[in-house]
């Protein structure tokens, strides 16, 4: 019954007209930011922070939260329409979403993403309301060893991302891991692979790599053959899912939601893995796995649900422990401090109106997102009919402005150009960029956790096997590796036999 009374407090707080307005404003701005490629929620929230000074704390945080999940949501629109993932989580959405768009099914992809996200957001919000404190305690059980094993598992799963050559996918992951290491080494302070360029001292921002490899790379590639690009987008089919589509996407949405909710709780990089993991899982369990990478509806439904669920549950460590799990959460904590609220475990008990108000507002915000965006889909799809020779210069501008907004530095734009060349060359060589991006995200985290675990265990590698959670995940990684490698080995053998025969 306590939950009920708590929820009542939340409803009371979040349903006031003014807070509803801030929630709506937040998701609206968020969607806008998300749709504009490269412009992330971090820069926007940072800019809006001073605006929130004058607001009551609850309103301020409701709006900032709205921007955050609104941006996550808007990001998938760009990923689907123009194959440009603005943040890590939409990289995998771009894989199948963009293929669907090329087949004239952009509307279906967008509505699938919207409905999947809404469902996932609802479930995750309830989880948050019911179990936030115990879940936060579980997350604390994750030490460096557990995180390292989780990353290994993620890496193995990511091999599945590629639909082309397996060795090339592995090579791309490795290249991504190495690129991710550029910057100052956390443990020793040594700047690595920075060529004495101070701008590289903190590493390369994900957005730069994504905008370069996906944005610029794709534009140059399309310029090779403009007729092909235009033909793909001329025909447009239904905007909303049919009953058959629903049946196909429902299990994917459910699995994605479960996986995303679980991973989002882990502050040390779990939410980032959510969409990747959901996509990989879906590709393995789906009957339709051959269609993945060629426009499978599950390939959009699963990662989008996982991503949104993860975005919601990543509030758990922030709200219950005061631990930021990503830069946006760090900003929210900053906003709390500016508002005079001391982040930490006592927020829940001392500020119940704030805590429950934010949680309830998240559900309302998710509802707003669907209502706002479903009617917009028609408009977005029509955007695809803009001739490409007028569209791509605009995309280029958004990429450049987005990258510039990261640090207000021209250097980042030069770097994006370098990754544009690299992305183009690699795509000419049939090397897909998605595995590289995943490696890029995982690289620095994996190394950090590995070294931290070894320092704390005094150099004893057994720590990865002695700790049960870590051991379980490593075992799953090994099984996963076998599952991934076996078919291709068998296929090779079959091919060899047929060639001989």
């Amino acid at each position: 019954m306590e939950l009920l009374s708590n929820l009542m407090i939340g409803i009371e707080v979040s349903m006031t007209p003014i807070n509803l307005l801030y929630c709506l404003g937040g998701v609206f701005v968020g969607t806008l930011i998300g749709v504009l490629p490269g412009l992330g929620p971090t820069a926007t929230i940072a800019m809006l922070l001073p605006v929130t000074f004058g607001l009551p704390p609850v309103s301020a945080l409701i709006m900032l939260a709205g921007i955050y999940y609104g941006a996550q949501y808007g990001g998938s629109t760009t990923a689907i329409l123009i194959n440009l993932p603005g943040e890590a989580s939409s990289v995998v959405t771009a894989l199948d979403g963009y293929q669907m768009a090329r087949q004239g099914k952009a509307g279906l992809a967008l509505s699938t993403a919207a409905l999947g996200s809404f469902f996932a957001g609802t479930v995750a919000t309830f989880l948050l309301a019911l179990f936030a404190p115990p879940l936060a305690e579980v997350a604390l059980k994750f030490g460096p060893a557990e995180y390292f094993s989780l990353m290994v598992m993620g890496l193995v799963a990511s091999v599945v991302l590629a639909h082309g050559s397996l060795p090339k996918a592995i090579a791309m992951i490795l290249l991504g891991l190495l690129l991710g290491l550029v910057g100052t080494d956390v443990t020793s302070g040594t700047p690595r692979f920075t060529f004495d360029v101070p701008e590289l001292a903190d590493g390369i921002n994900f957005v730069i790599v994504a905008m370069g490899m996906f944005g610029l790379g794709e534009i140059i590639r399309n310029l090779e053959n403009e007729e092909v690009r235009d033909v793909f987008t001329r025909k447009i089919s239904g905007l909303l899912p049919t009953w058959a589509d629903f049946k196909q996407m429902t299990p994917a949405v459910l699995r994605g939601t479960a996986l995303g909710s679980a991973l989002g709780i882990l502050p040390g990089g779990g939410a980032m893995l959510a969409s990747f993991a959901a996509y990989s899982l879906e590709k393995k369990v789906s009957k339709n796995s051959k269609m993945f990478g060629k426009g499978a509806i599950e390939g959009v439904a699963a990662p989008e649900s996982a991503n949104n669920a993860g975005a919601q549950t990543s509030f758990i460590p922030m709200l219950t422990l005061g631990i930021p799990s990503n830069p946006v959460m760090a900003l929210m904590i900053g906003a709390m401090i500016i508002q005079g609220i001391q982040p930490g475990p006592q927020v829940m008990t001392e500020q119940p109106a704030l805590f429950w108000g934010i949680i309830v507002s998240m559900w309302i915000g998710n509802f707003f997102l669907v209502v706002l965006n479903l009617p917009m889909i028609g408009l977005w799809v029509r955007m695809l009919t803009v001739p490409y020779h007028l569209l791509y210069p605009a995309i280029l501008v958004f990429c450049a402005i987005g990258v510039f907004s990261l640090n207000n530095s021209g250097f980042d734009i030069y770097l994006m150009a370098v990754f544009g060349v690299l992305g183009y060359v690699l795509s000419k060589l049939d090397c897909e960029p998605a595995p590289l991006l995943l490696g890029f995200i995982l690289g620095p985290m994996m190394e950090e956790y590995l070294r931290r675990a070894m320092v704390l265990s005094r150099g004893d590698a057994m720590v990865f096997i002695e700790r049960p959670i870590s051991a379980t995940m490593l075992a799953m990684a090994v099984i996963g590796l076998i599952v991934v490698l076996l078919p291709s080995i068998r296929k090779k053998r079959d091919e060899a036999f047929t060639e001989e025969g």
Partner: protein, 324 residues
């Protein structure tokens, strides 16, 4: 294209010379460069102070975050900025320590800047996971001296205040712990809460909530005097390490060559801002307070900067840990 560019550059050179008029300063937006990411403690300080300074200067004051390389990127940007008072730097203790931590800094910490004034001293606290055996600070010192590198100490990376505080602590008690570096204090606090690491020294902004929530154990504060928001915690000096003092002090700097008139106006605005009710109230919630009025001056900051460089250089050199 080359000709267009050189034309543009030429036009630009002619125009920049003509804009600075110190008398009517400020007649356009003043930018405070924060050399760290938005949302962090330094950013919060800058935004609070910037807003109050804006009222005093009757001009808009905006905060620009130029994060990277331990704050040296943003500091470098200001060192090279036009010396007209419209671009200033708000940096913390890291401005003094980076002079030693970075062996090749792209600017001169003392000679490339004009000090404007000190802003605030944020205290730090020595905290531990909640089931660490020692009951008070004396026991903690004995415990660390006995267990040495079996005790793990988390910090937010080379050169971070948490790292420096640890170095100072270890050199004071003559015992080496195992240091574990993190990217920022957030993840380090996470591992402290989860009991993965034993000990950490972090600013009150981050620790007060956890201490009051009973999630971690606090042993001492690192300032000369006790902290009003945590009145039960002894200072390190009281608890046994005489003269131990670390605080994350913040200062405002302008590029070298900024006209004295502009510096004076900025310093005066800073003084007004530090008396501002909201600033005082918010600072108190951060576990800190504005510096005394006579310290928000160019002379006080200049002297403090030199003293702090001298204080940290031997500690960093002895540890042999550099950031480049």
């Amino acid at each position: 294209m080359k000709t267009t560019l050189s034309l543009l550059a030429g036009a630009a050179l002619m125009l920049t010379g003509a804009t600075a008029h110190a008398q009517d300063f400020p007649n356009k937006t003043v930018t405070i460069v924060v050399p760290f990411a938005a949302g962090g403690p330094t950013d919060t300080v800058a935004r609070l102070v910037g807003q109050a300074m804006s009222t005093a200067l009757k001009q808009q004051v905006i905060v620009e975050n130029v994060g990277g390389a331990g704050g040296t990127l943003g500091a470098g940007r200001v060192a090279r900025a036009a010396p007209d008072g419209y671009t200033v730097l708000l940096h913390h203790i890291g401005h003094a320590t980076s002079a030693t931590l970075y062996r090749k800094l792209p600017y001169d910490t003392i000679n490339d800047f004009e000090p404007v004034g000190l802003v605030t001293d944020v205290p730090m606290t020595m905290v531990a996971k909640k089931d660490l055996p020692p009951k008070d600070f004396k026991e903690l010192v004995a415990y660390v001296q006995q267990n040495k590198d079996k005790v793990s100490y988390g910090n937010a990376g080379i050169g971070a205040a948490s790292h420096l505080c640890g170095l100072m602590f270890m050199s004071a008690i003559k015992a080496q712990m195992t240091t574990v570096a993190y990217k920022g204090t957030g993840p380090a606090m996470n591992d402290l809460l989860g009991g993965q690491i034993d000990l950490m020294c972090d600013q009150t902004t981050n620790t007060t909530g956890q201490i009051k929530g009973g999630k971690i154990k606090a042993y001492a504060v690192t300032t000369k005097t006790r902290v009003p928001s945590l009145p039960d915690l002894p200072t390190m000096d009281e608890a046994g390490i005489k003269g131990f003092e670390v605080s994350i002090w913040h200062g405002v700097y302008a590029p070298k060559g900024t006209p004295k008139a502009a510096i004076d106006k900025l310093s005066a605005a800073l003084k007004v801002a530090l008396k501002d009710e909201t600033v005082v109230k918010r600072f108190a919630e951060l576990g800190t307070e504005p510096v005394a009025q006579d310290r928000a001056t160019p002379a006080a900051l200049g002297a403090h900067l030199k003293a702090e460089i001298a204080k940290w250089a031997p500690v960093i050199k002895a540890a042999g840990e550099y950031a480049d």
